[in-house]
Each structure stands twice: as C-alpha cells, then as structure tokens.
C-alpha cells in the first residue's frame, strides 16, 4: 500500500509491455481520457482569451521562479505573521521528519490526508506508518488506492485503472480495518460506493486531531495556501482537525493574490473539464475561532533547486499538476500511470521525475525521457506552456551524456558510426550503395518480413521497405549531371566546438540533493541555482487584464442562474421582502427541520415556519454537534456569474467554515450587488479575506469509472436564494458587500 512501491519499478519499456497486456486497463484509460479530453476541449473553446491566459500563467510562474528566494522569504513572513509555523525541508526525508515530529508532538495516533502529490513524492505515508501513526487518505480515489494496497495511476484521477467491481471488493475487504466497515450488501453502483466512503470517512473526519494536505498554490503576498478539490474531503481536513500540516513544493509559490485570477480559470478547465471545481479552500495562517488552531507549512525542495539550475529543464517547475498532458498523450492512454514508475506519470512525469531524482540516476529516470514519440499533443494543451517535447529532447541529451560517461555502449557506437557516415556525402553515398546491395536478395518481395537482430524490434509488427537500386542522388547524377556542391557564396566553415555544454554540466544540475538542510539549506540551494543560471525574462511579468471584457451573452445575474441550474442547485430570485418565505420553501422541500445559522445571519431572514428549529452558532457547537443539523443557512461574500461560484469568506453573515460544511443541506442567500461577472473580478475583491471557501455546485466525485456522483462529503443539496432590488437591508447586520475579516 505504499507509494514507495514505485522504487522497485522496472524501466519504462518493460513496465509498458506488461501494462499493454491488461485489456481492462486499456479500455478504462481510453474511456476516461477521451471523456476528460472532450470536456476540456469544450470548456477551453468557451474562453475567448484562453491563449492569453496560458501566456500570462507561464509568465507569472517564470517571474516567481526567477526570484524564488525572495518570494519564499516573503511567504514565510506572511504565514508567520498570521500565526502559522513555516519549516523548510531540503529533502523528502527531512520533510517526513518534520511532519512526524509535529504529529507526535500533538500526541495524535491518527491523521487524515487531503490528496497530495507532494506527500506521495516524499512517501510520507510510509514514514507515518513507521512511526505508528494510522494514515487515512480521504480523497475517494486515493482511498481506493490506499485500501487496495495499490499505486496511483493518474494525477487527478488516481484510481483510473480500477473498475466499479474492483472498488466494491476492495471496500468490502478493507474498510473495516480502519474504522466503519462497508455494508455487507454494498452494490457496485458508484453512488453506493461513494456513500460507503462518506459514512466511513465522516467518522474519521470527526475523530482526527491532525490533518495533512498539500497545496495547489502558495501566495507570497498574503501567505494564502490554496487547495482545489471536488469532494469536500479537503474542506473537512482543512477545517475540522485541531492541527493542520501542509507540505508544499517550493515551485508552488506565486507572487500575488491577484494571480489566482489567472490560475483558477485555467486549472479546473484543464484538469477535469469544468469551469470551476466544486470546492476551493484558501487560508492564511490561523484564523481564531475558525478551523485549526495550529497551522504548519513545510516547504519542500527535494530536487527542485537542481531543476531550477537548468535553464531549459526548469520550465517543468511551472507545472500546476492539471494532468491535461496525460489525457491527450497517446502513450499514456495505452500504458497508464504505473509504467512511469513514479508518482508523477505521463508526459509531465517523464520530464519532472528525472529532474527531481537526477537525470539517469536510476534505470527508471534514465528511460523516462524516451517514453514519448514527441508527438507534441501535451505542449498544445499545457496551461502553463511547458514545451514538453523540447524538454524531453533536452533530457535525452543529458541522459545520453551521463551514459557515455560510463563508457561506450552498443547504441553510442552505432550512433557514432552513423554520425561519421552522415558527415560526408561521399561516405553517405557509399553507404547507400552498400545497403542497397545487401537488401537485393529481398527485392523480389517488395517488402521485408520478420528480420533477425538488430532489425527484429522493427519487423516484429512492421515489414521493412526494400532499399531501391538507385538512390535519389544517383538518379540526379545520372539524369542531371553533376550537381551544385555548395550554394553560390557558401563555403565550408569549420567552427570550434564549444568548450562545454553550458546547461548540462553546471554542478547544480547534477540532481544531487543539497548538502545543507532546513531554511538555509533550501534558500542557499535556490540562490545558487539562480546565480548559476539567471533568468533573462524579456518581460518581467505578463500582464493579464484584471477585468477582461468577456463577451457576456447575458447579464451576470441571469448567467449565474443558468450556471447554478447546470449544477442542479436550485436557484430562486426573490425581492427583499420575500427572502424569509423563500428560505422556508427550500427548507421544507429539502425536508430540513433542524437548521443552524451563523450568529451574524440577518434575523429577518431566519425561517419561522412551525416544525423548523433554528439554532444560532456562536462557535460553540462541536463538529459532531454541527453534523446533527439538517441544514445551514448562510450569506456569502461574492457570487461569480461566469462559473456559478459562491464564495464564503467568514464575513458576519457566514460565520466559521465548519458550519456551512457539515449539515447535508446548504442554503445560501446572495444579494444582487454581490454578483460579479468573472473570476478575476472576484479575486480582486477578495484579496484581504484570509479564509475563503469557493463553492461551485454540490460536492461531487468522478473517481469511479468517471461516473459523476454528487454529494460525497460536503452538503449534497445546495439551494441559492438571490435577492434582487436596491433596497438595503435594515433589521440586523447586513452581509457586507466589502468582505469582512
């Protein structure tokens, strides 16, 4: 069950060969990648400025990487100022040591985890298990992988290789070992399977003292960490336990909060083919009375500063882990993620893993840059414009260079011979004649069938062409006479070979871990990398208009209604005087009778229907207490028309995050003046809100055969009441249009 299973992986060609035998795997992969690809293409086509967004995103990441030392310092200061603890870890082992230490200090025997690639990279689960700590993965796919003692095969949908019957068997056999068992009559319907996970994990969420997460982005300016997810397991982990530890790669830093206006438009579209993922959580340090009391940020290097020292290779550090490159890759589609022998599979894994581990440091890293036809489909979809084919070619060169150091192999001898032949037209013409003569006996058949070594691997599935008697140059000479040998003015120029291949032999690019540890270890490695290979950015940062004049087909409020109905959330538009009645209606339709409201929720909106019990949360309900309510009523900070997103930021009408998370029915009141058109509009108004929850439809998972199941951990029913009219609200505190801290 440990990710370190990857350590024993064979090189790509061998792993791929066995994966190809698995017809079930190939069928699952084809279906899954085709579905996501189509959804992505449709939603990307919807954005008129998608190319501009890609350019902006690449520019922001390059800007961040070019002054990473400075931004890491700023991030550390911002998080510390808000009561968070910041740790630097030069290696995976160091990060694991820090995390285990925090968990032990909290005297916790159990942790819950949000899906995180970075902790997978560190094999953190193994380190925790070795320390006697029970680790619970809470993302549905990660849970399937963990309970099945399996390895993830996709970045976004890690259990893409499993079908529903397999998931059912895993749940029945293993769930009971870690808490609430799956019901004996569990069917293989994805909704039932998700239901079993919900019941099992709900107990663990309410019980756990410590949660561990990664982060999609870390904002230097505000100290904000951002987790993007679908199921609500992230919100549970980030909100309920007393201690929160986030392990974040140093490549996740972005300079400004406003940069999220670019990335939050790109990530979900590229990853799952949604306008916005159901839940995005943003927090900065500790927010007293709301969420964890103790917050840790572990900033991980683990090979990233080595990658940063390679002017070509460091593009890979722009990656936002969307997996769009996996979904379009014809090689990935046929072999799946396990063949890549790393937590990072597919095209991005082929360029990232060798750089993090050290190019050609082992047989897997050595084989990965060659695990591609260089077809370029990945580069076309990458939201941060990583030129993966160019990186693959570059890493192949570094890999071959490393191999040559070990002495000549069969391939390098053949390549040297080919190089000698191709460096002279006379030798090349002679070689043509020789090969033609050699293949003459086969000429009659027109094509050559299975041939012995060294042609065997070609002719295993393909006939080889018969070499013609006369080459093109032979024909030209016989028909046209002597050719021009050189261009009119050209003369051969012999240039000295450069003394060294600058990028590839710099000491920092050798993939060895920095010797020093902790803050100084990481920061000095980053500084050394930037000194040895400074960025030469033509533009300091690409400006993306903060308020794009998108061609809105309809007024924002109508678009919001349409988007909400697409999510199957019910949305009602009412006048100021009808709010209370509308709330009463949606509660009774949802059969919700026990209702919790934040203390600042306007009194005049509280339902007064008979049979409905309304209780006010002043911060005193335990998670289990909140779990006992049927519904939560809340205001909001902002609603985004373009994506149908409602943003809660802990303002007075909303209260703490747990209140809107645990009850199964969420009713949100949105005022007309809170509706903005686009994501950048919203980001601009939310810069100073330290805790934010972005909600785009009900919680959902597509982890089992990509069947969408709504309602995993967050509320399964979402009702939105939109209040129109200019009249301001007078009785009781209002939901402020300006977010309150």
């Amino acid at each position: 069950m440990n990710p370190s299973g990857f350590e024993t992986s064979p090189p790509f060609p061998l792993a791929a060969r066995s994966a190809l035998q698995d017809t079930q795997l190939r069928a699952n992969l084809r279906q899954a990648t085709t579905t996501i690809r189509q959804k992505r293409d449709r939603l990307v086509a919807e954005l008129p400025d998608f190319e501009e967004l890609r350019t902006a995103a690449a520019g922001i990441k390059d800007d961040a990487l070019s002054r990473l030392d400075e931004l890491l310092g700023q991030l550390e200061a911002s998080v510390s100022a808000r009561g968070g603890h910041v740790h630097f870890a030069a290696s995976a082992a160091e990060a694991n040591e820090v995390v285990v230490g925090i968990v032990k200090a909290a005297r916790a025997r159990e942790v819950v985890k949000v899906k995180s690639m970075t902790t997978g990279e560190c094999h953190l689960n193994d380190a925790l298990a070795a320390a006697g700590i029970d680790v619970g993965e809470t993302d549905l796919a990660e849970l399937i992988v963990q309970l099945g003692a399996d390895l993830p095969s996709h970045i976004v949908v890690p259990a893409i290789h499993r079908n529903r019957a397999e998931v059912r068997d895993i749940f029945l056999a293993k769930m009971g070992e870690h808490g609430r068992a799956a019901p004996a009559d569990l069917s293989d319907d994805p909704a039932d399977l998700a239901g079993a996970a919900r019941a099992h994990l709900r107990e663990r969420f309410l019980r756990a003292e410590v949660a561990i997460s990664g982060a999609n982005f870390a904002v230097a300016e505000t100290g904000s960490l951002v987790v993007v997810e679908s199921e609500g397991n992230g919100r549970m982990c980030l909100t309920l336990p007393r201690v929160l530890i986030s392990v974040v790669g140093i490549d996740k830093v972005i300079p400004r909060f406003g940069d999220l206006g670019v990335f939050l438009q790109l990530l979900a579209r590229s990853a799952t083919g949604e306008r916005m993922n159901p839940y995005t959580s943003i927090w900065s340090g500790v927010s007293p009375g709301d969420g964890p009391e103790e917050v840790h940020l572990v900033l991980l290097d683990n090979g990233r500063s080595s990658a940063l020292a390679d002017p070509t290779g460091r593009q890979a550090l722009r990656c936002i882990r969307c997996a769009a490159c996996l979904n379009v890759c014809p090689v990935y589609e046929r072999v799946g993620g396990h063949a890549y022998g790393s937590v990072y599979p597919g095209p991005i894994g082929a360029v990232l893993t060798p750089q993090l581990h050290g190019v050609a440091s082992d047989s897997v890293s050595g084989s990965l840059p060659f695990a591609s036809t260089l077809c370029g489909a990945c580069y076309e979809v990458c939201p941060v414009k990583i030129d993966i084919p160019r990186l693959l070619v570059h890493l192949r060169a570094r890999s071959v260079e490393r191999a040559k150091d070990k002495g000549p192999g069969l391939e390098s001898v053949a390549m040297a011979a080919a190089s000698a032949v191709l460096s002279s037209e006379k030798r090349f013409a002679a070689a043509e004649r020789l090969v033609s003569w050699l293949s003459r006996p086969f000429g009659a058949k027109g094509a050559m069938g299975p041939l012995p070594w060294p042609f065997r691997s070609w002719t295993i599935s393909r006939d080889a062409p018969v070499v013609p008697r006369q080459s093109f140059r032979g024909w030209w000479r016989s028909e046209r006479g002597p050719s021009v040998t050189r261009g009119p003015q050209a003369k051969p120029v012999r240039r000295a070979r450069p003394a060294r291949e600058s990028a590839t032999s710099s000491p920092a690019a050798t993939g060895t871990a920095p010797a020093a540890t902790g803050t100084e270890g990481v920061l000095s490695a980053v500084r050394a990398a930037l000194r040895s290979a400074p960025f030469s950015l033509t533009e300091r940062r690409h400006s993306y208009r903060d308020n794009p004049e998108l061609d809105m087909a309809m007024p924002p409020i109508d678009l919001l209604l349409e988007r909400l109905s697409e999510y199957k959330a019910t949305a009602t538009m009412v006048g100021m005087q009808e709010v209370q009645a509308a709330i009463g209606t949606v509660l009774s339709r949802g059969k919700s009778t026990r209702v919790v409201v934040p203390a600042g929720f306007p009194e005049a909106w509280r339902p007064e229907a008979s049979g409905v019990v309304v209780e006010i949360d002043g911060g005193d309900f335990s998670p289990a207490g909140l779990d006992g309510f049927d519904a939560c009523l809340t205001g909001c900070a902002i609603a985004i028309a373009e994506t149908g997103t409602i943003v809660l930021d802990g303002g007075e009408s909303q209260g703490r995050r747990a209140v809107s998370l645990l009850p199964d029915h969420l009713v949100v009141v949105v005022r007309q003046d809170q509706v903005v058109a686009t994501v950048p509009d919203a980001v601009a108004r939310l810069t100073s809100s330290p805790t934010q929850t972005w909600i785009s439809g009900p919680s959902a998972t597509s982890d089992i055969e990509l069947n969408r199941v709504e309602g995993v951990h967050g509320p399964r029913k979402l009702d939105v009441v939109i209040v129109v009219g200019r009249q301001s609200f007078s009785s009781g505190p209002s939901c402020s249009p300006e977010p309150k801290l």
Partner: protein, 246 residues
C-alpha cells in the same frame, strides 16, 4: 524561382521516388530546382535520440551548405521542422549561441513542400490526377510543429479524381517517433494497430502523409497485415499527371 531541394537522407536512400516527384511538381510549375550534393542528413535522429553534440555537428554542416539559398524545399515535415525550429532550440539548450543565431536566420527560408506550394507559391492545383480513395494522416510534426494541415488538404482536394476519405482520429500519433519505434516497440506497435484500424475503417486504398518515416511505419504495418493499402507521400500523388501512375 530557384529552389534548393533538401531531399532528406531517408528519401535519398529509401524513397527516391518522393524526391523525383518533388522535382517534377516544382519544375512543372516552372521553377528551377537545384540539388546541393553535399547534403546528407539534418541530424534529427541523433538529436531526438539524445546525441546532441553529433546532431549539432550535422546542423552546423546543414546551415553551411544551405545558408546561401533563398528557398529550401523539403518533402518531409519532421526534417523541415528540425531545421526550422529544433536546431535553434537544441543549440540554445547546449549553449551554442552562434549556431542558434545562424539557424534562426535560416529558418524562414526552409519550407516543407505543401506549405511552399500553397503559402509561398499560392498554388493549390498542380495539375495532378489520382482516381483513388485516399486517407490523409497529418503527421505530428506537420500538424503541431509546422501547422501544415489546410495546405496538404487543399492540394489533395484539387487533385482530379481523388476521393478524400475521413480518417477517424486522424490527429493522433501513429506511434513511430523515430527510435521510439525500436526502444518502445510494444507501445509503438499498439499505437500502430489503432492507426491501422482507423485506416481500415476509412475504406482508403492509399494513406498519404508528409513524412515517409511515419509512412514506413504505417505502410510496414499495413503490408504485414496484408491490408492492401498503399502508403504514399503527398509529393507522389501531386506528381501523377493525367493518366499516369505513381
């Protein structure tokens, strides 16, 4: 116009017909074709296999041989893409800035055949006749590096008697990938099998592309399966005059 032909090593040795067809089409349109005999190979195989120093020596050689020509035409999308784009990238990545500069200077004068005909010469009807069902496979380098897609299709549309059939999943790689076909022959073969199934489903008699290297792979697979489908470079279809046979 005086055109320097870069025939490519694969075409020179294995597909001289493609080179002859290229000469024939260009001359039929009234252009002078010269063949700089010092040419050998652009170095793509070495470059894409990780033998960058060897590849850059071939790149330097190529640039020296061709730098004085106004128009260089190449009947291979991947070789044209190597010269026009990958040379500069590889030279930069290896820190050879003067080669990178020379390669960038040469780049705008290097043309893949179909783009040269349509974009530079403004011709779509080259007077060809080819009464067969043809599927067009856009090779990865033609589609995603050179952005040559409309050009070959408009040339094929203008060929008399030619019936262009739809190839399902046309834009997906055939699985060749140079030495990938040898190093990862199992994955390569699996991708080929899917491409051949698409060719079969299209009902084509001929599968056409801008790269003989990919066509060696596709045609070799079709030949092994005795599909009765021929793989043919675009140049050879365009060179077929009324009543002729390529």
């Amino acid at each position: 116009m005086r055109v320097a032909l870069f025939v490519t090593c694969v075409n020179d040795a294995l597909y001289p017909e493609t080179g002859r067809a290229t000469v024939s089409v260009l001359e039929r349109l009234g252009h002078e074709v010269v063949f700089p005999a010092a040419q050998t190979c652009c170095g793509q195989m070495h470059l894409n296999s990780g033998y960058r120093p060897e590849a850059l020596r071939l790149a330097r050689r190529f640039v020296d041989i061709f730098s004085s020509y106004e128009a260089i035409v190449c009947p291979s999308a991947s070789c044209a893409g190597t010269v026009a784009e990958a040379y500069a990238h590889a030279a930069e990545d290896a820190g050879e800035t003067s080669l990178a500069q020379d390669a960038r200077a040469l780049s705008p004068r290097v043309h893949e055949l179909s783009k040269f005909l349509v974009d530079v010469l403004g011709v779509t009807d080259v007077g060809a006749s080819f009464p067969h069902r043809v599927a067009y496979h856009p090779t990865c380098h033609s589609l995603r590096v050179l952005r040559a897609y409309d050009q070959p299709l408009s040339l094929l549309h203008a060929v008399r008697g030619l019936c262009l059939v739809e190839l399902p999943g046309a834009a997906v790689c055939c699985g060749f990938g140079g030495t990938f076909a040898l190093k990862n022959s199992d994955v390569s073969s699996a991708m080929l099998a899917d491409k051949l199934a698409a060719v079969r489903a299209s009902g084509a008699e001929v599968v056409c592309a801008l790269d003989n290297s990919c066509l060696t792979h596709i045609g070799g697979g079709a030949s092994r399966l005795k599909m009765g489908v021929r793989a043919l470079h675009l140049a050879q279809i365009l060179a077929t005059p009324e009543g002729g046979r390529p």
